[in-house]
Symmetry: C2
Subunit: 316 residues, 2 copies
């Protein structure tokens, strides 16, 4: 069988990780790296090439950001190409899905949206767990891991030169979730901050701890460190998390389901999920499907390079 | 929308648990309990009724055993009805799948096979985990929980009046799996045995520990107890288990995925999975699908009573 021709759109952390991830796939080949800015890559092509002609790719993995790139790029490119994205702005999910669904349906293409670990694997677990244990309580926990959004929020405060924010699940909250008890104060926030020279540290701690939405109301710890130490010790992008559901069957018997992951590098793992999704997207399209989908809408077997027969033999 | 009419075939532990599980489902109604032997249930109907006329059910949940009932029942009933079973004899899975696929395809019905937690949820996790982390090592662990097969094997030994066998994961093996190291001696076996009067206990321990396939080669502990104690302390059917995959992306970064469950009662939870599968089976059939499927072949959303829009809003 011909390998799937996969295009990468956007070549930041995620795009680069997708390129290495493709090397692990027996059935895929890199068909081009599309970017707005010129990059030193033998397969670089300007992004507008995708509009000017029908480029020969089976699927595009969109590796831009959810804030600015994907809301426009995904529906635009879904008119002419099968696409996968990792859009993760929950509040705008419906709008993004509907716009992409219209575009992909019109172009008779398939768009698989919100792929990654959350949304993505976590969404799948939440759906599976509540379906098989309808009477129960689910909880999601994130961390220990760096939150880009919270790190950015810190960096925008006056007096902050650089910063990394780790979100950590609260151990008591984890235990409560496993016992089916209500979960409060699920997360703690640990901020490593490089202050500007001459910054008033006490005042800075106060502005951080009271920053609305990001830190106010959370158990927040602020640790000041040097730029050197930040770069040395906090350059990696680890992540972790749990989806937990405690539920009972009608006979009052209790059951606990838990999914957890621990990633040494968030973009590297997200890229690996996107790459598996490339396969599922092409299969949906080959079967005649069109429009937008999420990981809740696809059979798990479609993520695998193995045949259904082989999967049943090895895994069922 | 009309509720799904669900029939139960076989009314042992699993069938009874399915009946209570249906009470948790907003969109299902019990349409009959079909059994070979007469049972005191207002909706009891002899099993041969299913052959004599087309009974008005949307799906049958087959609650018989994998050893004797399902190999014949599933393909037979799949000719005329949508069915779900929890067939779990791995060595005969292919044969069972193919026979049922032929029958269901011919009858234009859908059969969802091997539903439960293993095979079932564990199969799904194994497929998902290796698809998103192709370079890695998976391991499955069972227990602490009662193994029916091993308990039966004990009961068949001369000198044994009654017995329960608990399988327990070996903690060192669990740690090895989480570190991606080779797993050996993954399980321990703990046997509670009620000896026949006058049985030679030392000899009995020897026959147990050397029983080929079941106990030989395992770390096995035998505890003799009275019938009263067995019934009092070991009447429940708890189960637990883990699916673990440690893998690395091409950049040598390591990632860990783990699914675990802890069930206070194995048939109660298995029933709850079968019931969710009833919904997925009917949806597949409504969409025009025919033939045999496993949980690897269905979208997760099809297990849920919620609409795709609601699932995206709440869970993605």
């Amino acid at each position: 069988m011909e390998p799937l021709r996969v295009g990468i759109v956007g070549f930041g952390n995620l795009g680069k990780a997708v390129e290495t991830s493709l090397l692990q796939q027996p059935d895929m080949t890199l068909a081009g790296v599309f970017s707005r800015r010129q990059i030193p890559h033998p397969q670089y092509r300007p992004i507008h090439t995708l509009d000017e002609k029908q480029v020969e790719v089976d699927v595009l993995l969109l590796c831009g950001g959810s804030a600015k790139d994907l809301p426009l790029q995904t529906p635009h490119l879904a008119q002419r190409y099968n696409v996968v994205d990792s859009f993760d702005t929950h509040a705008l999910m419906r709008q993004h899905f509907e716009a992409t669904h219209r575009a992909a349906s019109h172009g008779r293409k398939v768009a698989l949206l919100a792929a990654g670990w959350d949304p993505g694997l976590f969404s799948m677990m939440r759906c599976l767990f509540e379906s098989v244990l309808p009477n129960g309580q689910s909880a999601s926990f994130w961390g220990p891991g760096i939150s880009q959004g919270h790190s950015d929020a810190l960096r925008q405060l006056p007096g902050v030169k650089d910063a990394r924010q780790y979100t950590l699940p609260n151990e008591e909250a984890l235990s409560a979730a496993r016992e089916g008890k209500p979960v409060s104060k699920a997360h703690q926030r640990l901020c490593y901050v490089v202050p500007e020279e001459g910054a008033h540290l006490e005042q800075l701690v106060h502005s951080i701890k009271t920053l609305p939405y990001y830190f106010a109301g959370y158990e927040t710890q602020v640790v000041f460190i040097s730029q050197e130490e930040l770069l040395e010790k906090h350059a990696e992008m680890p992540q972790a998390g749990h989806v937990i559901r405690k539920g009972s069957t009608q006979d009052a018997r209790e059951h606990l389901l838990e999914f957890s992951l621990k990633l040494s590098n968030n973009p590297a793992f997200t890229a690996s999920v996107l790459t598996a999704c490339a396969r599922a997207t092409c299969r949906l399209h080959q079967q005649g499907a069109t429009g937008a989908y999420t990981l809740l809408d696809i059979p798990l077997a479609s993520l695998s390079p193995s045949s259904p027969e082989e999967l049943r033999q090895r895994l069922v």
